[in-house]
């Protein structure tokens, strides 16, 4: 059973579902965030469980609780754990108590004045982050105190609009870090495993990820092992179940826990390709009460995988969303290529939601092979009718920084103008 808004009536997931129910009009607040309509849909159609996907209600503890109140299995962690780890500021405190290093920061801020005082204590530059946030939403970098008021207003407003929770907190801005995250799975019997790390440092200036890969290149073995060990330790400390991702900032040998996303991530396909495990299937099995059936020693990563997000955006116009009708579309295939998308020729991209329209994933026995396959796949990708980030992804893949695997989260913001111009000139 698929749910959809009126704006997504013709979406591919609706066409392919056994059954589909409209839960509201285009604006997410009245459809994909409409808890009564979503719960009612599940009940009147005889559903047993609800998979929240990512975004919208995926990390809403209250929604998970309401599912349970109506005898619906929420495919994800327990509401208690979502509330604890989904609240970014609380999660940092909890993992710190479990002995995991965290970025210096504040608790949830109650006002602009509280933000000012916390900022003076933590020091500039800093990041304002939405405590219910994800996907770069509700996040603002602040270089000095004169920028704080405007950044606070922007972050809280965006957080409220995106997550129905406008609370923010402060973190010290770590210079030139890498964003490295660890995938975990936990069942209801206390078994917890990690499925390696992903490097997600190629991010737009808004901190939204654009390219992700696994394994993280040029990560010292002790640092990699420490990341895995800390992720599992933090999960054991809270009794975590189902799929989740712990995000860290890595600067040299220093590692800081940033936040945990208590859901499946957009970039989960790269992990699936390298570990040959269907993570969404594991989510459903765990929610159904099945044990993992394997231990850490049974898991082995092989090869390398990269994901490029195709967004309906114009990088030349500060990534302005490009809603409209896709007149023609061709997606790549061949060895090691996977494409996750809801798009087809003639489909209309509505203006209400995130601009991602497809994920192109390339797997190879080595990182060089994965890069080569991704470049070929992107060149074969054709989307007409809207601007996309395809050309920008190709330019990024061709840079020495990416080729050598020596990039951090400031790489793309620093090189963006030259890369966009190069993309426009060559294609």
């Amino acid at each position: 059973m698929a749910i959809f808004s009126e704006a997504d009536r013709d979406s591919l997931h609706v066409r392919q579902a056994d059954e589909a129910f409209c839960v509201g009009p285009g604006p997410a607040a009245r459809s994909y965030l409409n808890i009564p309509n979503i719960i009612s849909t599940a009940l009147i159609t005889g559903c047993d469980a609800v998979h929240p996907g990512y975004g919208f209600l995926a990390e809403n503890a209250r929604f998970a609780e309401i599912c349970g109140d109506h005898a619906l299995t929420f495919i994800g962690p327990e509401p208690r754990v979502i509330a604890m780890m989904g609240d970014k500021a609380t999660a940092k405190r909890v993992v710190r108590e479990a002995g995991v290093a965290t970025t210096p920061g504040s608790d949830v801020l109650s006002s602009l004045e509280a933000a000012r005082q916390a900022a003076r204590s933590i020091g500039y530059p800093l990041l304002l982050k939405a405590t219910a946030g994800g996907g770069g939403k509700g996040m603002r970098a602040v270089a000095e105190e004169s920028e704080l008021e405007r950044a606070y207003a922007g972050a809280t407003a965006e957080a409220e609009a995106s997550f129905k929770d406008g609370r923010v907190y402060i973190e010290r801005l770590v210079r030139s870090p890498r964003h490295v995250e660890v995938q975990v799975l936990g069942d209801r019997f206390g078994n917890i495993v990690h499925l390696g790390e992903r490097d997600c440092s190629v991010q737009k200036p808004t901190h939204q990820k654009l390219i992700e890969e696994t394994p993280a290149p040029h990560l010292a073995a002790p640092v990699r092992e420490a990341l895995h060990e800390m992720a599992v330790r933090a999960c054991r400390a809270v009794g975590y179940t189902n799929a989740g991702t712990l995000e860290f900032l890595v600067a040299g040998d220093e590692v800081y826990f940033m936040e945990m996303n208590t859901r499946i991530q957009v970039e989960h396909p790269v992990t699936e390709m390298v570990y040959n495990i269907d993570l969404v299937k594991e989510q459903i099995r765990i929610a159904a009460g099945e044990p993992l059936g394997y231990e850490q020693k049974d898991l082995a990563a092989r090869g390398h995988a990269i994901e490029c997000r195709l967004n309906a955006e114009d990088p030349r116009a500060n990534f302005a969303p490009a809603a409209g009708t896709v007149s023609k579309i061709v997606f790549p295939g061949g060895p090691g290529i996977r494409v996750d998308t809801h798009l087809y020729a003639g489909a209309t991209i509505p203006p209400y939601y995130d601009s991602m329209i497809a994920k192109v994933v390339a797997f190879g026995g080595t990182r060089d092979v994965a890069i080569a396959r991704m470049e070929r796949a992107l060149r074969e990708t054709l989307v007409e009718g809207v601007s996309t980030t395809r050309d920008l992804c190709l330019e990024i893949l061709a840079t020495p920084e990416f080729r050598e695997g020596r990039y951090d989260i400031e790489f793309l913001p620093r090189r963006l103008n030259s890369l966009v111009q190069a993309g426009s000139a060559s294609r």
């Binding site: 009126e6 129910f21 409209c22 839960v23 509201g24 009009p25 459809s31 009564p36 309509n37 979503i38 719960i39 009612s40 849909t41 009940l43 009147i44 159609t45 109506h70």
Partner: protein, 136 residues
């Protein structure tokens, strides 16, 4: 799987608008064993169709579709609304029950019920047509 009444109502609505916009007096669609026929008289009383759906009303008056604002189970009001019923003013035609709460469905004014598009006890989605009412 049989087609939802809402889909049938939508087609009737479209045919009625087509009929009222032109000079045709009668239109008949036969499709997959189903027949919908609408006709209008150049003058005089409206005629009922072979499908039991009022047509002359529809041809000469504005049609409003009352849709569900939420997801739930649709229930008729008492007395049950019937096609052809005249409504003098705003009237509660039924309700949608969701999570134990009944949300009334109103006619939003007077007119005549052209189509009852959902069945009593039918699960309805957001935006699903429940009634087609001819105004005027």
């Amino acid at each position: 799987m049989s087609e939802r009444p809402s889909a049938i109502a939508a087609r009737v609505h479209a045919l009625a608008q087509f009929l009222s916009a032109g000079d045709a007096l009668r239109v008949r669609i036969e499709r997959r064993g189903e027949t919908i026929e609408l006709s209008r008289r150049p003058s005089g009383a409206p005629a009922r169709t072979s499908g039991g759906l009022a047509s002359g009303d529809a041809a000469s008056r504005r049609l409003d579709t009352i849709k569900s604002d939420l997801v739930g189970i649709f229930r008729f009001g008492r007395p049950a609304p019937l096609e052809g019923d005249a409504i003098e003013s705003d009237r509660e035609l039924g309700y949608v029950e969701a999570l134990g709460i009944r949300t009334p469905v109103h006619s939003m004014g007077g007119g005549r019920i052209v189509t009852v598009a959902a069945a009593d006890g039918e699960p309805v989605e957001y935006g699903q047509p429940l009634f087609v009412i001819a105004r005027g």
